[in-house]
Subunit: 116 residues, 2 copies
C-alpha cells in the first residue's frame, strides 16, 4: 500500500496540501457518476438527437434504430441525472435536454476527438 515517502528529495512533500485543495470524496464520486452517464453510446446518441429539440420515445427509438424498451431505460438514467426532462402529452412522453452544460461537455468531447 501507500509508501511513507516516495520520489525522495522532498519532491512530493506537500501531498497534504494537494489533498486539501481537492473536492471531498463524495463530490468526486458523484462527479464520476455524472460522467458515467455520457459513457454509453446509446445515451450519447439520445443526447445528440435531442439537440434538435424535444422528441418522443418512439421517435428516438426509430431514429436510432433501437428498441423502445432500451431507449426508455436509458432515458430513465438520463432523467435521474438531470440531463433530460420529460413532458407528458396524452399517451406520449416528450423528452428534451435539461442543462446547458450537457451541450458544452458534449462539444468539448468532440473537440478532443478531432485533435489527433
Amino acid at each position: 500500500m501507500a509508501d511513507e515517502r516516495c520520489c525522495g528529495l522532498d519532491k512530493h512533500e506537500g501531498l497534504d496540501d494537494i489533498k486539501k485543495e481537492m473536492p471531498d470524496d463524495d463530490t468526486l464520486f458523484y462527479l464520476a457518476d455524472f460522467f458515467k452517464v455520457f459513457g454509453d453510446s446509446t445515451r450519447i446518441k439520445i443526447v445528440c438527437a435531442l439537440f434538435n429539440g424535444e422528441m418522443c420515445v418512439g421517435s428516438i427509438a426509430e431514429l436510432l434504430n433501437l428498441t423502445q424498451s432500451s431507449i426508455s431505460h436509458q432515458l430513465r438514467v438520463l432523467k435521474a441525472n438531470r440531463l433530460v426532462k420529460a413532458r407528458k402529452e396524452g399517451k406520449y412522453a416528450f423528452y428534451s435536454l435539461d442543462d446547458i452544460h450537457v451541450m458544452e461537455i458534449y462539444k468539448m468531447g468532440l473537440e478532443h476527438l478531432k485533435e489527433k
Copy 2:
C-alpha cells in the same frame, strides 16, 4: 422494433434530416468511450490530483490512499485516451495532464453538480 411512424400528425416526419446532422456512429461510439474514462472515481481523482502539476505513481497512490497497482492500471487507461502523458526519469514515471479540454470538462461537470 422501430415503428414506421410514431406520434402521428407528422410531428416527427423529419427524422432523416435529424439523422443527417448527427455525427456518424463510429464518432459517437468513440465519444462515449472517451467519456467513459471520466466515469470512474479513481480516474477522476487522478485527474483532479494532476491539476497541481506532474506527479509520480507512488505519490498519487499515497495521496489517494489506493494501491500502486490500481493507480498504474488506471493511468494506463488515462494515457491510452490521451488524458495524461508520461515522462520517465530514472526509475520514476511522472504523469501530467495532456489536454486542455480535460480541465474544462471536469469543471463543467462540477458546475452541473452544484446547480441543484
